[in-house]
Assembly symmetry: C2
Homo-oligomer: 372 residues x 2
């Protein structure tokens, strides 16, 4: 079964197999393992040992995003968030419910974030101490240029939080070259091709120390995570972690090392290209123009045919070995397909073929994009 | 290797094996699985379908405890917490950092919570809307009577939160008979004998509806978890869950069904008795008198011998197949040993034997309790 949902992703059996033993997360053997794992992740983020810390948090991407917002912004702190789509909206909601003040930067949903628009917004409002942005916006499929936006944030003397959840491992991150970044956050289960259950922030140590006391939540306080993981000599988690998920991540990182970030990005890009061109050849219409289409997720317009029913399409694909989401994150009806995970262009060609058959099975004759 | 740390616990290989497949948590098959899993957990908690909801949260016990405190108490809300030990202290810290006002009820660390003391404290302070208490206090090893305390809370017209993290699955919970309880919280990895990674609240639906808007955190808002898991028809998680951990839990619940809660408690009690009597026969001194000793965790006084070194003891036990914690949660030096998990009295007898050998190896001659 191909999981194209797109996350949790399809993983290798060797990665899953790493979860089949009991693990004591307070044991010294685990502490050594965990220290090494933190270093591996730090290196992938382009962080500097002694300047950056790899901070794991039990749970999911939303938890680590809220933790970063709470830790680096005080209550009432104001943060600019380019409105790139569904996942930017989620960050806005996380900030607002946590008592911070998110200020959305309006933009077209199919556009890449304009660094100059960010610069102008920061200049116009000196109370904005931070910018948060989504690197790979799953809501649209657009990849946003965190380096270019970061340069403007740096020039303006502000701070930045990067939501790298569906980017990390495939797209470059060079935190050493981006001192304006307080933290980049991501999880085990997207482009790292491991299983879900642990989230990470790679964060600046000086800022973690400065920001102690901001969080208003012990659970979601990254300064406190830092104290336990690194500063106090404890060298492990504060609270019981899903250690099996970390064991799986370690194996997944071996595969990542073997492939390399650039080759992984190239594979995902090839996956996307085969799929994008393939569904176009089927008569379907991708939601993004090819020039804007990123390699992580492709949204495809729902066909105009009145027989269209997303759940029926999902159900018809499943016996053909392809699993896609039964919901969509775009304003108009689409279906969404992930191109990431332990999958190849051949798998994507197979998925296109399965979609052709599934569309026939559920009686779709008119495959043109639904007019909205 | 026996994990007596005591949590994560030793699990069965069949439980861990359930984690070796990819799972799509938004898929309809998963929704059906998840609905059934929620019902199984609800039944174990003695909840009533339609009155109670089983609410899973990614992460650990501390996260679900904070979520319950945030959801059922408004900011500034006041909650009485019997100071039973290290885990009550943690709940006090979670409440305080979340902007609630925890009011500790002082008591002896080796005492069981006195229901009359709770009643008097509630009578003396009408601003206390809630009581939170730890069912099985890992800090001491004492089991506290949530039914008797709950009866006083009910009489006083107040609300209650039960931290059942290291009790659930072994000790009875009958939420139908305890309408004063807003939520009982616990995790997958203690007496349920599954792997860590997901926490649960079983909570009253009327209270979840009344308390919407309290949490001040989207991540930790149980009213919102309820909306997604049950009310909206979505029938799944809000954010990516560690679905493999839930698959393992489902298998662990099969074993729990086969054994039954009463027999599981009897097995843990037999584990504890063999261990408690065994270490006493070795010349060591358990921290609790036998009359107060619960079956979940036994703390043992550190020997007075100057050669005592907890880490050396832990290291000497490990090649003998026994893993214990290299820290303690009591005010005076102890070592802590869990009696829960997929382990038997024979395993505990083996652990006692291994401890005798380990004490000799690290040169402990005087095994009497250290004077503090």
């Amino acid at each position: 079964m191909l999981l194209l949902i797109p996350g949790p992703v399809t993983t290798r059996p060797e990665v899953r197999q790493a979860m089949t033993r009991d693990i004591a997360p307070w044991d010294n053997d685990f502490r050594h393992f965990f220290t090494r794992l933190r270093s591996r992740v730090l290196k992938l983020a382009g962080g500097v040992e002694g300047q950056h810390a790899t901070l794991p948090l039990q749970g999911c991407g939303h938890f680590i995003a809220e933790a970063a917002l709470r830790t680096f912004l005080p209550p009432g702190g104001r943060i600019l968030i380019p409105a790139t789509g569904a996942y930017a909206d989620r960050m806005i909601r996380l900030a607002r419910e946590a008592g911070r003040v998110p200020v959305p930067l309006p933009m077209g949903l199919t556009d890449a974030t304009d660094p100059q628009a960010v610069a102008r917004a920061l200049e116009a409002d000196p109370t904005l101490t931070h910018v948060a942005m989504v690197y790979s916006e799953t809501g649209s499929g657009v990849i946003h240029d965190v380096q270019a936006v970061g340069a403007e944030v740096r020039k303006a003397g502000r701070r930045m939080i990067i939501d790298a959840v569906s980017a990390f491992g495939a797209f470059p991150l060079d935190l050493a070259a981006q001192p304006e970044v307080d933290a980049a956050v991501f999880t085990t289960n997207k482009c790292l091709e491991a299983l879900p259950g642990v989230a990470f922030a790679v964060a600046r140590i000086d800022r973690l120390l400065d920001c102690a006391g901001n969080a208003g939540s012990w659970s979601l306080d990254l300064s406190n995570v830092y104290d336990h993981a690194l500063r106090s000599g404890w060298g492990s988690f504060r609270f019981t972690p899903p250690a099996q998920i970390l064991a799986a991540l370690d194996v997944a990182l071996d595969y990542h090392d073997a492939e390399g970030q650039t080759a992984r990005l190239a594979r995902y890009t090839a996956n996307m290209r085969i799929f994008y061109d393939g569904v176009r050849d089927l008569g379907l219409t991708p939601w993004l123009p090819a020039s804007r289409q990123g390699p992580v997720i492709v949204n495809v317009h729902a066909p105009a045919d009145p027989a269209w029913n997303l759940q029926a399409f999902v159900d018809a694909l499943k016996p053909r070995g392809v699993l896609i989401s039964n919901f969509y994150n775009t304003p108009s009806p689409t279906f969404r397909v992930g191109c990431i995970g332990a999958i190849t262009p051949d798998d994507m060609a197979g998925a296109v073929h399965a979609m052709d058959q599934a569309l026939r099975e559920i009686g779709i004759k008119n495959r043109e994009a639904v007019q909205t």
